[in-house]
Amino acid sequence: MLEIRNLRKTYGDLVAVRDLSFTLEPGDILGFIGTNGAGKTTTIRMVSTLLEPTSGTASINGFDIQRDPMGVRRLIGYMPDFFGLYDDVKAWEYLDFFANIYGIPSKQRPSVIDNVLELTDLTTKRDAFVQSLSRGMQQRLCLARCLVHDPALLLLDEPASGLDPRARAELRELILELGRMGKIVIVSSHILPELAGFCNKVGVIERGELLAFGGVGEVVRSVQPHRKVHARIVGELDGVVATAMACAGVSDARIDNSGSVVIDLQGSHEDQAELLKTLLAKGHRIFEFREEAVNLEDVFLKLTRGDVN
């Protein structure tokens, strides 16, 4: 479990991170969203023990980042937004170096390296020099490096930057797999639609302050309290609007440009089911009835003002 308590970092007058507090459980994948200079990297670097907090602390499975940094380091895998690759080193040698540093016995290292190469789909590049790998492959090699010691917490700082769509999709699958393996994953990114696809939690940070934190749906609802339900009907639409408006929890109903009825529902899923039942009962011929997908970008734009430290 990762527990962050009142974590704060100041540089003279500048507050880079302001009293951040949240908790993550094994299997959680947190999308850490913020503009450049919002404090994402500073937070990640403090949790990875690379920066000393000005006040507050964080603990991972009971190991405190200030009191027991060595214990914390054994539990984390940190992937910065740069690669930090060595020249003239082959992929397996790069991983062997870190496996050695993490104290993995020399007899176990080959199998560990093979496993992480397989997990990151780099088995065929085992003997390739790291500088000869594509950017996507280097990114995956860095992720493989983070995994050699089987960490409980993965800190991925802008992992998708500079990757092509296919590489991003592969990375997304890999992160989902890591979440399924019970690891806590923190992913900072600007590419919001992608985060919505695989994160179960989201944190929005601006000027060092955590503006929102929680489950993706929870955060979205905190910003946009009503659900948007789209209904597509065969036949007359005006009657549908009138019927919907009469239902419990519906604050607004209108016909959009595409010809579907958009219903703002402030109630629960129960109310949503009831709405559908009522519409069908009134004889409206509905061929599509769906809740609008969560849109992190809208949430982000509503919560933040684009200010930077």
């Binding site: 100041t10 540089y11 003279g12 007058d13 500048l14 507050v15 302001r18 990875s48 023990t49 690379l50 000393e52 000005t54 060595m70 380091r73 054994r74 984390i76 940190y78 910065p80 740069f82 690669f83 930090g84 690759l85 060595y86 020249d87 003239d88 080193v89 040698e93 170096f97 870190f98 050695n100 540093i101 993490y102 104290g103 020399s106 490096r145 601006e206 000027r207 060092g208 302050e209 200010d307 430290n309």
Partner: protein, 510 residues
């Protein structure tokens, strides 16, 4: 037992299965680059040796006695050339070791792994040390020729190589230290070469000054007594191999003492590098400061012992009769670094932020409040070691000895006051450290000008600054007076600076 076991495991990992050295070894030995480099080295060495042979041996080929003597000199010149190669090569090997990691941004990846900076630095050191041994091993055919022709014995060769390897260790640790504190490759290379050059010149001057019996050629194979400083120069390893120091009626070979000194120095510089990379309260800082104290004891002891042995063998040295004078000179030479102990800045990392003026508990944590207590502790330890050993070897304790102690403490207080003042107003830590250096330099310059301008220097107003460097330039009797004056000025400067107070953080989010 488990603590000892853990320590043993840690040492085994650091020295025998160090990941950093293994990785460096793989990359060093890869490709044609290494082979070409060694071939180039052999070519240059062959040229140097050939030139030396031409000038020293061939001209005496008619006379056997002269030939033997010149073979001896030829051997010494080979070892001196090897020393030169090591001095030239080590900064190139180590200057980029840490700064390269910083620039490649791979240092963070190691820093957030469960190994200490000492592990990383030791790995770098071991990796570079292999190169030094390659330099030595590749030169073996040339020295073997000298042995077979009668210019040296295998014992000479082995001892000289051990000394050269030890000097290589010191020079490498200097390079690693510079690399750790540097931010760019260019500054790392420049400062590494500068410091290596300074070390080489200083140790050569010490060695040359130490004994009048010290000379090239005929005496090489006759063991003779000389201060240990003769073995501290990489250029004179061959000549120093046959010298010894008499300690409690035992003739201890100087090369053993010198190797010990070199190991301690290398350890000190490596600990310094670790401390430079470490964070607030890091073990590396504790290790570095402990090493500094141990080395202060050694410098103090050696300063007395060198004087004692030097006077017994008729040394050219005529510095002073005080046992702690050498420690005093060493302290003055290192004093520009004092500002690093005291300077603070709110924008700097936590360990360099103001946390008080004088706190004994912070001595080993590396924070500004522990700076002055640590400097005074260092001075006490060094001076008392020198005085104690001086008494043991028959150098009487005088009022000047105590004066030197007081002056050192006063001088440190002056630097402290000045650094406190500049820290209050400097925009960043670098300025807070550099400004005191220039202020002291200007004051020193004023004293020099005063001495140069007037016949009676005491009448010149510029001479007022003599409390800073007076005892060196003027008389040796004023240590106590000057020390007290420097301490008073330091305290006044501290009182003049505004009391540091952490500024309130401006609320950045409405």
């Amino acid at each position: 037992m488990s603590a000892i076991g853990n320590w043993m495991t840690e040492q085994r990992r650091a020295f025998f299965s160090n990941a950093v050295s293994q990785r460096d070894f793989r990359t060093q030995m890869r490709g044609k680059k290494a082979v070409l480099l060694w071939l180039f080295y052999l070519g240059v060495f062959f040229f140097v040796v050939g030139f030396g042979y031409q000038s020293q041996v061939e001209v005496h080929s008619g006379n056997l006695v002269e030939l033997q003597s010149s073979l001896n000199s030829f051997y010494q010149s080979i070892i001196a050339a090897l020393g030169g190669f090591i001095v030239m090569a080590t900064p190139a090997l180590t200057a980029l070791s840490v700064v390269g990691e910083k620039q490649r941004q791979s240092l963070d990846l190691v820093a957030c792994s469960p190994v200490s900076f000492r592990y990383l630095l030791l790995g770098k050191m071991i990796g570079s040390f292999r190169y030094v041994w390659m330099l030595l091993v590749l030169s073996l055919p040339f020295t073997a020729v000298c042995v077979s022709l009668g210019g040296a014995t295998w014992q000479n060769v082995l001892v000289s190589y051990a000394l050269l390897a030890a000097h290589g260790l010191v020079l490498m640790s200097i390079g690693i230290l510079i690399s750790s504190v540097s931010q760019t490759a260019t500054t790392a290379i420049l400062y590494s070469y500068f410091c290596t050059l300074a070390y080489s010149v200083l140790t050569f001057a010490l060695a040359a000054d130490a004994s009048p019996l010290f000379s090239f050629g005929p005496r090489l194979q006759d063991p003779f007594e000389a201060p240990v400083s003769v073995a501290l120069s990489p250029f004179l390893a061959a000549s120093a191999a046959s010298t010894h120091t008499t300690i409690l009626d035992y003739a201890v070979p100087n090369w053993i003492l010198a190797v010990g000194v070199c190991l301690l120095l290398a350890d000190l510089f490596l600990a310094g590098a670790g401390s430079a990379l470490g964070a607030y309260g890091a073990k590396e800082t504790l290790r570095f400061r402990t090493r500094l104290l141990v080395n202060a004891v050694l410098v103090g002891s050696f300063s007395a012992a060198i004087y004692a042995v030097g006077s017994r063998v008729g040394s050219r040295s005529s510095l002073t009769n005080e046992s702690n004078f050498c420690f005093y000179i060493a302290f003055l030479c290192l004093s520009p670094l004092l500002a690093n102990l005291f300077a603070w800045n709110w924008n700097a990392p936590k360990r360099f932020q103001y946390d008080g003026d004088f706190r004994l508990r912070q001595i080993f944590r590396g924070t500004p409040s522990g700076g002055l207590p640590f400097a005074i502790l260092l001075i006490l330890v060094g001076n008392f070691s020198a005085m104690g050993v001086g008494l043991l070897v028959g150098i009487p304790l005088t009022a000047t000895s105590m004066g030197i102690l007081v002056f050192c403490a006063g001088y440190a207080t002056l630097w402290w006051g000045l650094t406190q003042l500049t820290s209050c107003y400097a925009a960043d830590l670098k300025f807070a450290r550099v400004i005191p250096f220039f202020v002291v330099l200007l004051c020193e310059l004023a004293v020099v000008i005063a001495v140069a301008m007037t016949s009676d220097r005491r009448t010149n107003p510029l001479y007022t600054f003599s409390f800073i460097s007076g005892p060196v330039i003027a008389d040796h009797d004023g240590f106590l007076k000057y020390g007290v004056a420097a301490a008073v000025v330091g305290i006044v400067l501290r009182l003049c600076s505004r009391t540091p107070r952490k500024e309130r953080n401006i609320e950045t989010v409405a």
